[in-house]
Assembly symmetry: C2
Homo-oligomer: 257 residues x 2
């Protein structure tokens, strides 16, 4: 049986500013079926509020407590560990970090910085790591589907570059971190064994959710999906479906076991 | 016995434009001892001719056929494999590639591009890889000692980023590629078992040379050397010495076995 649903955003409900057909209806149908929803996104190019505003523009009504972002997880981590951040993130995301005040140690935080990934910004971050800082990755995604429809470099390759140079391993805060999936499930009191994830990334969404213990994970053939992705990473998807509408059909049919 | 010597350049004979004390004399002493020399450098920020000019300014007389650079190895590879290059290299190195003319396939060539490692240049290279190009790394070095005396990011982290994003493995042309060491040795008819390498990089110079089968590899405590480097990579150096002058002492004393 299914008693909670996690949904990825970019590539599942929209591509850039273009809604994926049937997305808003699928969300309504899942809600009408009595299924609690959480939205788990690795998008790190805009603040949480900007993501909520974008969802509203697309006709999706999502509450703030239903949306889980890596920046939110990072802010909690910084506070728990008494660290101040050295940010290597998109300028539009900086507002989500506020002023951390005076703290004991430094940590380098890497998001999808886009054009802000310059040599000198990467080198500055590397030098902070050499001086002893820890390395946090908001997201380890390899690629995302860009505005021109082609794949572009996401945060993951740059995290890997800093790991290689500093010989430190990054702690990943967004998907596929099990803690990220589990905190979203915990917020709706949904056990892993009764949860399903829907995403377009066979690695961070699907394999990540299954490794975190979720009962099932659906791969949609929208967004960054490329033919053969279902066989490219382990564990593979429970099922691969055309889009979020088909995913909602599958979930509603399967929800009573 | 020792019948041939490979010397690294940056960090061994000079730091930037500053000669390392005793370097020029050490080269003369090795030549006077009858030892053939080859200079194997992973420096990819300037043409071969510019490196030779720099050595001359530092009072080191080095013939063109004594200097082995990754760009030279790459040009040979391109010709043998009938490929045209998509260059992600330092602007000062472009001249070493000339005009390859019309060729069958594309290959992405990554060197230490410095500030030319922009997001869009990296993303362009990634997209060429996605379209089917192979990936060549002129050098996989993690770091180099920068003009301010601190470590900075070398080509390796960016090669790793492109490998991670494209899920392709780079072919390395410079050190620690065994082919690179062996072609330098072959040019002086020196068997691996009678060869010694001197470098400041415990990974690409020392471990690389020993993996290629060289009898010994000396690590100098100049250039990018940091305390503990001798224990950081396997195989470790035959011996760690203060500088190129001490390395020359060791080699001259050991040359007759």
């Amino acid at each position: 049986m299914i008693s909670g649903v996690l949904l990825d955003l970019a590539g599942v409900l929209y591509d850039g500013e273009v809604p994926i057909p049937g997305g808003a209806e699928a969300v309504v149908r899942l809600r009408d079926a009595g299924l609690p929803l959480r939205f788990v996104s690795n998008t790190t190019r805009s603040t949480k509020q900007a993501v909520l505003d974008q969802l509203a523009r697309l006709g999706l009504s999502v509450r703030s407590d239903e949306l889980f972002t890596p920046a939110q997880a990072a802010r909690e981590w910084l506070s728990q560990h008494n660290r101040s951040p050295h940010l290597l993130i998109h300028p539009d995301l900086v507002a989500d970090f506020g002023d951390p005040g005076d703290r004991a140690g430094k940590v380098v935080i890497v998001g999808d910085a886009g054009e802000a990934f310059t040599y000198s910004a990467l080198n500055d971050a590397f030098r902070v790591l050499v001086e002893g800082a820890e390395l946090l990755a908001l997201a380890p995604n390899r690629t995302f589907k860009d505005a021109d429809g082609k794949l572009s470099l996401d945060a993951g390759p740059f995290v890997t570059a800093l790991e290689f140079a500093s010989q430190k391993q990054a702690l990943v805060l967004g998907k596929p971190s099990s803690a990220f999936f589990l905190s979203a499930l915990a917020s709706m009191n949904c056990p892993e064994a009764e949860a399903v994830m829907v995403g377009d990334d066979a690695e961070t969404d699907v394999a990540g959710a299954l490794r975190a213990g979720l009962a099932s994970a659906l791969l949609v053939r929208t967004g960054k999906y490329r033919a053969g992705d279902e066989d490219r990473f382990r564990p593979g998807p429970t099922v691969t479906v055309d889009d979020i509408a088909a995913a909602a059909d599958w979930i509603i049919a399967a929800r009573n076991g």
